[in-house]
Amino acid sequence: MTQNPYWGSDFFSFFAILFSRVQEFFVLGPSQMQLASDELQLFVLTLISISSALIGTFLVLRKMAMLANALSHTILPGVVFAYLGYHYFYASPNEIDFSHLLPSDSLLVVAGLASGLVTAYLTQTLVQHLHQAEDASIGMVFTFLFAIGIILVTAFTKSSHVGAELLMGNVDALHRADLSLIFWIFVANLTIFALLWRPFFVSTFDPLFSSMCGISNAAIGYLLMGQVAVCAIGAFRAVGVLLFLAFLVTPPLIARKCTHNLKVMAGFACLVGALSSLIGVAFSRHLLSVYALPCSTSGLIVTLLAIVYGFSLAIISRPRA
């Protein structure tokens, strides 16, 4: 097993090594280089943070942050259903074992999309037809679906320990294959936002105007939910669903303090997210090398983001009208 080139490096030498490896990459080409685990983490986290920052910008502006929280819970039953469906229709229906990685990424993505749409739809139904408050509806939908998920998991796997991996993820257990899923999610998100920027913008700022332009606000809402869900699927293995929420919400909050321009806000959020990931990975390596303390990299990034947000609140003051 080749040694990790970052082993033993501290914070600053991490960047030095990274820089030199990037240079090597351009000189030698991809065939000669192997992706170090730190680099894998870095790419995965950076791609996740950029996707999340973009999606999160609109989530925050549409006041849908807690819906994303609900989604982070409801992807569990979605994944469970997908898994069960796969096993019943394709593989052996008898032995169902959650301990292996799930069969295919596309199945996962479909599961994520379905969870997102079902969550949004059920919430809307409760609000419109049973006249419940929106926050209560969100709470009811996600707790119910999550409970169903756990029951199904228990019934079919004889154990209800879904736990830690879903919540926390495990950045150290990433594989190359995870990178490819997250890369395609990233590309899909970029494409969607590049193509549909105007409808997203108008429908978020002025839903009345957008419906008069013929844009369906409901469609944009569902699309956004689908994006959150798919991104959550991509992210849960690396960062866990809870920290994913911080990736969604904190960079846009920081960016909003810094600009009045939506495009700049989205771009800045991506930058903040990406930089935090970079610094987080480097700092985590530093802690391990210098203090022999393993640290949750994603937790570190989230804490860093929170600190940056705190600073931005303290330093940047809004001019009063």
Partner: protein, 443 residues
């Protein structure tokens, strides 16, 4: 079922669940009424750093400690952490114009991230503590012992007493904040008190309920009881009742399922399912607002409208003929309806005593029916006069648009109409309006 209370093994988990669900439901009523249903989510996660740090500190300073102490320490840490979290949410929403959902989500995820960082840093230096904390934070609903029950019960009683003590101000601030200000109640203090109650309950219950179940118990019983009542006292009572029932049956069914399938079923999800079932049934079956009863009443009203319209038609015809007798064929001509519907309507008005059967396909209006028909016709025609002459609704539009309203005219409305319209005798279509008294078949 009794064994759940008598069997020493089952006793603690059952009572513990019931108690915690009851408390969460009780407190959740306030959260839901204040439109802060999801605050439980944030609090449940915001308590983690406090728990981690508190246990760490207690391990550092106290090597050995009694069980109760070990129970209270994380609770105190959790409370402080939660209060800090909510304080941040307040600042973000009030001073920095962040929307509530973003603030809640930010605090939720960031505090959790911080907890993870601290936790992961403990992994090497304190491996046993790390394992304990791991299972504490992410493990299943803790095994409950009788000591836990006692502590929970005491704390719950404290919360209940506080609520009772401050019931009046709480009720006023929730339902009529403007009035509360005018009578000198400090609204901020009351909100702070409620927050304190919610935080305490979350902190007490989180260990046994877990995050998702905590949110479910804060929300489901509270929204379910709103189908049954609007008064705060009853809301709190029913909420607590639904919570307790969910707690019990959750444990019961998970136990049964575990026996049947030989898999250890977790109680939490089962409790959520029961609670959602209660919600669903409440939305269907509650007498005032439940969908089922509303559907029944809608059908009854529509049916009453149809019957009254039929009666009107019958009365008009009989009045023309000056005879109470009428044949089925005549009725079919007068009143456009499918034959089977007509049959149903006729038997309905026969049950009301408005007509009687005198032969095959022949009927006769009863005295009561004639009286009633006349009265209804009078009311409907009065209402038409009101609409056209007083409200300026077009003559040709009167029939379809006035339909529903005609059928709910009461004596009071009738009196008002008579005064307002100066006791008219002719409707907009120049039909005579039957007077209040007189020959039953004459206008």
């Amino acid at each position: 079922m009794i064994e759940f209370f008598t069997d020493p093994v089952l006793f603690a988990p059952t009572i513990g669940s019931m108690l915690m669900c009851c408390l969460a439901a009780f407190v959740g009523t306030f959260a839901v009424l204040k439109r802060q249903s999801l605050v439980g989510e944030t609090l449940s996660h915001a308590c983690y750093p406090g728990v981690v740090l508190a246990l760490l500190l207690s391990k550092l300073f106290f090597e050995v400690a009694p069980d109760a102490f070990l129970m209270l320490v994380p609770m105190i840490g959790a409370s402080l952490s939660c209060l800090l979290g909510m304080y941040l949410v307040q600042i973000l929403t009030l001073r920095f114009k962040v929307t509530q959902d973003s603030a809640l989500c930010f605090v939720l995820a960031s505090f959790f991230g911080l907890a993870l960082v601290v936790l992961s840093l403990l992994q090497s230096p304190f491996p046993t503590l790390y394992k304990e904390l791991q299972s504490y934070l992410f493990g299943q609903a803790a095994t409950q012992t009788n000591i836990h029950i006692v502590v929970y019960a005491i704390l719950s009683l404290l919360i209940l007493s506080t609520t009772i003590l401050f019931f009046r101000p709480i009720k006023t601030v929730i339902f009529d904040p403007n009035f509360a200000k005018t009578i000198g109640i400090n609204c901020e203090s009351v909100h702070l008190l409620l927050l304190g109650i919610i935080v305490s309950s979350v902190v007490i219950g989180i260990r046994s309920l877990g995050v998702v179940l905590m949110s479910a118990m804060l929300i489901f019983p509270a929204v379910s009881c709103r189908f049954w009542t609007v008064r705060l006292e009853f809301l709190l009572f029913f909420s607590a009742l639904f919570g307790t029932i969910s707690g019990f049956f959750g444990v019961y069914f998970s136990h049964q399922m575990s026996m049947i399938t030989e898999v250890s079923f977790p109680t939490g999800p089962m409790i959520v399912v029961i609670a959602s079932l209660i919600f669903f049934l409440s939305s269907m079956l509650a007498p005032q607002k439940g969908i089922l009863f509303r559907a029944i009443r809608r059908v009854k009203f529509w049916s009453q409208c149809q019957q009254e319209n039929l009666l009107k038609a019958l009365w008009k015809r009989c009045s023309q003929k000056r005879s109470p007798a009428i044949s089925r064929n005549e009725i079919q001509h007068l009143f456009q309806a499918k034959p089977y519907k007509l049959t149903l309507l006729l038997s309905a008005i026969r049950r009301r005593g408005w007509i009687k059967v005198t032969g095959i396909d022949t009927y006769e209006m009863t005295a009561f029916g004639m009286l009633w028909g006349r009265k209804i016709l009078r009311l409907h025609r009065l209402w038409e006069v009101y609409l056209v002459e007083y409200c300026g609704v077009g003559k040709d539009r009167v029939h379809p648009s006035a339909e529903e309203m005609e059928h709910i005219i009461t004596k009071e409305i009738e009196n008002e109409l008579v005064v307002l319209l100066d006791d008219p005798h002719v409707d907009p279509h120049h039909q005579p309006i039957p007077t209040g008294e007189g020959n039953l078949l004459l206008p």
